[in-house]
Symmetry: C2
Subunit: 377 residues, 2 copies
C-alpha cells in the first residue's frame, strides 16, 4: 500500500451532498479559506448498487448498472449539474464557485453503500455458470474548472497542477478502500463518443478487480521479467526512444510517443522517464513538468485536424496491492478521429474478435503531432 500523504499544494475541503455522497474541493494555492455551503436539494437516498456478473467465456466481470439508464443526458446549458450553484439553480456543487472539485457519481458503475459489507470479491465457483457479486467500489466525477465553456487543453499549467494534487489525493484515499483493487483516472471528451455532459470533467473508477487490459499488460510484463529479468514497460519506452521516429515530445522527466503497434488513428502514450507505480510516487519536478507536457500533448492532438477532437485519456496506474513493482505509470490518449469529419468505429473485427485494424501509419501520425503548431503551455 502506498504511503498516505496530504495533497501537495492545493487546499482540500471535504463536505457531503444531500444524499450522503462525498464532495471534495481542491482549491488553487493562495485561494481564501472555503466554508462549504450545504446542498439545499432534496435527493432520493441511495439504496441500490450495481451488480457484477462473471462472464465465464471471457473470464471477466461485467458490471450491470441498470439505474444508469436514467442518468442526465445532454441537459440544457442552464441546468448543467457540473456548474457551480447559483441562487436560481442548485447543481451538484453547492458552492458559488470552485477550482477543482471531486464528488461521488450519482449514477455509479461501482459503489459501496455506508451500510454494506466490504472486502474482496467472492471467489468464482467454477461449476456455476451464473456467478454474481455486489458491484462494490467507487465512481467519482472530477470537474477541472467551473468554466462550462472551456476544455482541458484550455486550462493553465497552474490549474493542471491543482488537478494533479486532486488525482494524487484520490489515488491515495481510494488505495486504502477495502473494496478497491485499481484506481483508474480518465477523461472522456466529445459528444461524438457519447459524453453526456459537455462541462470539462473527468472520472475516477475504483474497480473492485484489476481491469482486463491492465491485467493483460501485467501478465505480459511478468512473463517478460521471468524470461530476461527486465521490465517490459521500461524496455518499450527505451525502444521507442532509440527508434525516435514515433517520439512526439521528450523532456527531462517525460516522453510522449505514438506506440509502434497503435490501435487507434490518433494514439499517444506518455511515460515518466523513470519507472514509478502511480501518480503519488511522482516528485515535485516530475509533477511540474507533467502539468505542462500533458497540456502540450492535448494541444498537439487538437491541432492536427480542423474540427473538435473526441478523445479518451486514461492513466494506467499500478494495482493498489499487487504487482506494484511490475507496473509502470503511463497515460494513454486515444482518438477515433481518422480524418476531418470522419471517425473510426469499432466494427466486427475489433468489437467481436478483439482484433484491431489501424488505418493510419503510426510514424506519419507522430510526424503530424511533432510538427503541429501549438501555444506552448
Amino acid at each position: 500500500m502506498p504511503p498516505l500523504r496530504e495533497h501537495r499544494r492545493a487546499t482540500k475541503t471535504v463536505t457531503h451532498l444531500a444524499d450522503g455522497r462525498e464532495l471534495i474541493y481542491f482549491d488553487d494555492p493562495g485561494a481564501p479559506p472555503r466554508r462549504p455551503r450545504a446542498d439545499r436539494r432534496e435527493l432520493p437516498s441511495r439504496d441500490t448498487i450495481p451488480e457484477l456478473r462473471w462472464d465465464a467465456l471471457a473470464g471477466e466481470w461485467v458490471s450491470v448498472a441498470a439505474q444508469r439508464q436514467d442518468r442526465t443526458y445532454l441537459p440544457p446549458e442552464k441546468e448543467c449539474p457540473l456548474d457551480a450553484s447559483t441562487p436560481e439553480y442548485a447543481s451538484e456543487i453547492p458552492d458559488p464557485g470552485y477550482d477543482v472539485v471531486v464528488f461521488e457519481n450519482r449514477f455509479p458503475s461501482f459503489a459501496t453503500l455506508p451500510s454494506a459489507p466490504r472486502g474482496p470479491l467472492p471467489a468464482i465457483r467454477p461449476g456455476d455458470m451464473l456467478n454474481r457479486a455486489a458491484g462494490r467500489g467507487r465512481c467519482e466525477v472530477v470537474c477541472f474548472t467551473s468554466d462550462h465553456h472551456t476544455a482541458f487543453s484550455g486550462l493553465s499549467p497552474a490549474r493542471v497542477r491543482t488537478l494533479l494534487d486532486a488525482w494524487i489525493d484520490r489515488t491515495e484515499q481510494l488505495s486504502t478502500h477495502p473494496d478497491i483493487e485499481q484506481v483508474f483516472i480518465f477523461e472522456n471528451r466529445g459528444r461524438e463518443i457519447g459524453v453526456t455532459l459537455t462541462h470539462p470533467h473527468g472520472q475516477i473508477y475504483g474497480y473492485p478487480f484489476i481491469a482486463p487490459h491492465l491485467r493483460a499488460q501485467l501478465d505480459q510484463a511478468r512473463a517478460y521479467e521471468a524470461s530476461c529479468g527486465r521490465n517490459l514497460f521500461a524496455d518499450t519506452l527505451a525502444a521507442e526512444v532509440a527508434a525516435g521516429e514515433r517520439v512526439v515530445q521528450r523532456g527531462e522527466h517525460w516522453t510522449a510517443f505514438v506506440p509502434f503497434a497503435a490501435r487507434w488513428p490518433m494514439e499517444v502514450h506518455l511515460y515518466p522517464n523513470r519507472q514509478v507505480p502511480d501518480l503519488p510516487a511522482l516528485t515535485e519536478a516530475e509533477l511540474d513538468e507533467l502539468s505542462r507536457v500533458y497540456l502540450a500533448v492535448l494541444r498537439r492532438l487538437e491541432a492536427v485536424f480542423d474540427d473538435t477532437l473526441p478523445y479518451i485519456a486514461g492513466w494506467h496506474q499500478a494495482p493498489v496491492r499487487r504487482d506494484r513493482d511490475l507496473a509502470y505509470l503511463h497515460l494513454q490518449v486515444t482518438s477515433t478521429r481518422r480524418a476531418p469529419g470522419k471517425l473510426k468505429y469499432l466494427a466486427g473485427s475489433e468489437s467481436a474478435m478483439g482484433s484491431f485494424i489501424n488505418d493510419m501509419q503510426p510514424e506519419e501520425v507522430a510526424a503530424l503531432l511533432r510538427d503541429a503548431k501549438i501555444v506552448e503551455p
Copy 2:
C-alpha cells in the same frame, strides 16, 4: 482440417476481377446457368499488403492497413460498388444481376498476393519490442442480395439458405489456405457504427492468427475442461436453458438467449443445440432451421426500438487447425442501441481498460425480445 465438400444446393460460379481478385457467384437453386461477364474496368494492380505489428504490452497483433484510408465512403446511390453493373456503371460485380456474391475486398485488412510467400506467422522475438510481419490472410465481401434497399432481416429464408451455402463454401476454402488460422464471418449494419456502404452485405476475415477474443474463450474452455472434463460452451448453453429467463427463442436445433453477463444493451447469442466446430459441420436440418431462426432473431431485435437498429453479427467458429474439439460454433449479435435515438459508446472503462458497464438488465432485454411482434419467417 474439416472435410472439403461442395456447396450444398446453391450454384457456384468463379471468376476474377480486372485486378486479379477472385469473385464468386452463389445462385439460388433453380437459377439458369451463369456465364460470368468480364470486368470492364481498369483497376490498379495490387502490390501492397497490410503490415502486422506485435503489441508486446497486450500480447496481440495489430494490423496497420494505411491504404484502407482511401476506401469508398458513403458513395452516391448510383455509384454503389455492391450493386450489379449496368450499361452505364461498372460496379464491383460485372454481371447485370446476382443472388449472393462473394469477392476479395479491394481495401483489405489482411491479404495474400499471388507472388508472396505463404505460411504461418514468424515467431515473436521476445527481446525485440518492434516485431513486424506481413499481414497475410484474406478479406472478402459478401453481398446478400442485389437489392440495394433491403436489409438482411428482409431476405427470404430461401435466400438465407443460399447465403449459408456461400458461408460454408468460404469457410471450407479458407480453412485450406496456408496463411489462415481462423475464418470470421460477420455483418456490420448501420451508418451509426461506421458502415461506409449501405447495400446489404457482410464480410469474411481469414485471420493469420487466432483473434484475441476467440483465444481468450478457448483458454477459458481449456482450463474448464481440465478441471471438470466438460465443455464450457455446452455448460453455458445448458445453464441458460435451465434458467430460462434469458432465453429468447428455442427450437429443435437452435437456442437464442441474452447472455447472463451481456456486455451490450442488446445482445443475443445463438447456439446450435449440439456442439459442432463450424458452419460446414451442420446438417441439412440444422441449416434449414437456422435460415429461419437467424431471420427471427434479427427481426426481434429490430422490433424492440422504433428506429433503425445498428448491429454487429459475428460467427464464432473453431480455429481451422487447433482446438476444434474445444470450440462451439455460435453467433453473437450485439447492438449499441440503448434507447430510441440513444447509443451506448465505448468510453474510458471499456475502451482503455476493457471493463464493460451494461446499463440494461439482461432479463428485461430477453423479455422485450420474446414479446416482440414479428413477421414469422
